[in-house]
């Protein structure tokens, strides 16, 4: 439940960001993040909130674990299920995705 999941900001609307998580578009709250974020930034999302802006230089190393989990995991893989849970915790965007 503490894994979190990284995603890339597509749009910002006040305290909300539209974020791309490996092809899935979701809304994430920005109230908790402690530095300004902009479109194109990567953030670490946990239960629907961005808790950290991930520095650009380090993003590769952060994403690969999740890419592997999403690509390779079978339905009852615990880590993959936790990543899916993190996505389910974010709000669906209204309108077309």
């Amino acid at each position: 439940m503490c894994l979190g999941v990284p995603g890339r900001i597509l749009e910002i609307h006040g305290p909300m960001a539209i974020v791309d998580f490996f092809g899935v578009t979701r809304q994430v709250r920005l109230d908790l993040v402690d530095e300004p974020v902009a479109v194109g930034d990567y953030i670490l999302n946990h239960v629907g909130f961005a808790i950290r802006r991930i520095p650009e230089d380090d993003i590769e190393g952060t994403l690969s674990l999740y890419e592997e989990l999403i690509r390779e995991a079978n339905a009852d893989d615990l880590m993959a299920a936790d990543v899916q849970g993190e996505l389910d915790a974010t709000e669906r965007t209204r309108g077309p995705q």
Partner: protein
């Protein structure tokens, strides 16, 4: 690297950079050999770490002399029976209880929330506190969010309350704070924890400096670790180096997400809503300052206050099996293999103890990922 190039062995051993993994394993082996202890036990306190360690078969490449133990890193597992009883009492009163899925089958004294649901109560499984608030808004029903999770998750509860919630929404907090539990485990004489791996994402919130007093006081170094297999191996190497050097330092091996002071904005919101209180952690002990309790200013949103269920208990002897050694597992005294019903009577489909319920519980993780593909264990 394509999947076919990945090395296989010891179950699910998979690395993106097998050469680097082998180097790290060798360096760990060398360093551990230099430590003048018969066994070296280090503890991590994070279900996601245990998932990664078990999923990628990391224990299989660690030296026999080194034990990497999962401590009290599963918030669902340490949610105590009376806390579940309070949630069940709310459900009995007709309050809709919204909670994370893993909480459904965690045993209370006699009933779980799943039992309450079978008895006609309305329980909503949600993934985020926002979804619980949404249910309160759309239904107008009295909704209590049974909130579990460590500080990483509690900040979301705090921020949500601060945004403003409808009057028919309350929080039953079973949020826990990890550092005091590490303190407690460090002080246990029989487990001899030589060092801690701190959970990367909890440290995103708290920062790494927070662990310095613990490291000093108990002379146990702390290394903040990420979640990639190589992150974890690199952190283990750093930790055993510190143990070898008899250091009590705190090192940050997850600098891409963790800073010295952590996320101060999130901390400010957390402490605006919560304060620390003592509480029993299931199967472990009374942990002073281990519970995150709502401050009196938030009494209007506190389910215990609003519905008068604080401290209610099911009046009966616990129905939970005495065979369950979850607590001993979570402080590093035992492993799931020491439990006589692990994988036989106690399985994920019919969990006996909380450690088999949660995706972050050691028993469930070992069950799913084939236990401990660890040569040290079978040859000991």
């Amino acid at each position: 690297m394509g999947p076919s190039e990945r090395p296989r062995g010891a179950g699910e051993l998979k690395f993106r950079d097998p050469k680097r993994a082998a180097e790290l394993a060798k360096a760990i082996e060398r360093t551990v050999a230099e430590i003048d202890r018969e066994r070296v036990s280090v503890m991590h306190v994070c279900g996601s770490h245990e998932q990664a360690i078990a999923r990628f078969g990391l224990r299989a490449i660690l030296p026999k002399k080194l034990d990497v133990i999962m401590g009290p890193g599963c918030p669902v597992c340490i949610t105590d029976m009376p806390e579940v009883d309070e949630a069940v009492a709310l459900a009995d009163k007709g309050v809709r209880v919204a909670t994370y899925g893993d909480m459904m089958r965690v045993p209370g004294t006699t009933r779980s929330l799943a039992d309450a649901q079978a008895g006609g109560a309305t329980i909503d499984v949600i993934y985020s506190v926002a979804q619980a608030v949404e249910i309160a808004r759309t239904t107008g029903d009295e909704v209590a969010f049974f909130a579990t999770g460590f500080e990483t998750t509690a900040v979301a509860t705090a921020a949500t309350l601060r945004q403003g919630v409808p009057e028919n929404f309350t929080v039953l907090s079973a949020h826990k704070y990890v550092p005091p539990a590490m303190e407690l485990v460090a002080a246990l004489p029989d487990t001899e924890i030589a060092g801690f791996l701190a959970a990367g994402h909890a440290a995103v919130i708290t920062g790494w400096k927070l662990f310095e007093p613990l490291a000093r006081k108990h002379h146990t170094p702390v290394v903040v670790a990420g979640f990639e297999p190589l992150d974890i191996l690199a952190a283990i190497l750093k930790l055993v180096e510190l143990v070898r050097d008899k250091s009590d330092a705190v090192e940050n091996m997850f600098p891409r997400c963790v800073t010295e002071q952590g996320n101060r904005n999130a901390q400010a919101q957390l402490w605006d809503v919560f304060t620390l209180g003592g509480g029993f952690w299931r199967g472990i002990a009374w942990v002073p300052d281990g519970n995150l309790v709502l401050r009196p200013e938030w009494a209007h949103a506190d389910a215990r206050v609003r519905h008068g269920i604080s401290g209610v208990r099911e009046a009966s002897t616990p129905a939970v099996s005495t065979a369950c050694i979850c607590g001993d597992i979570m402080v590093g005294r035992k492993t799931p293999h020491d439990c006589t019903i692990f994988g036989t009577t106690c399985v994920p489909e019919a969990p006996v103890g909380a450690c088999m319920v949660s995706s972050e519980g050691t028993c469930k993780i070992w069950f799913q990922y084939g236990g401990r593909p660890d040569l040290a264990e079978v040859t000991r």
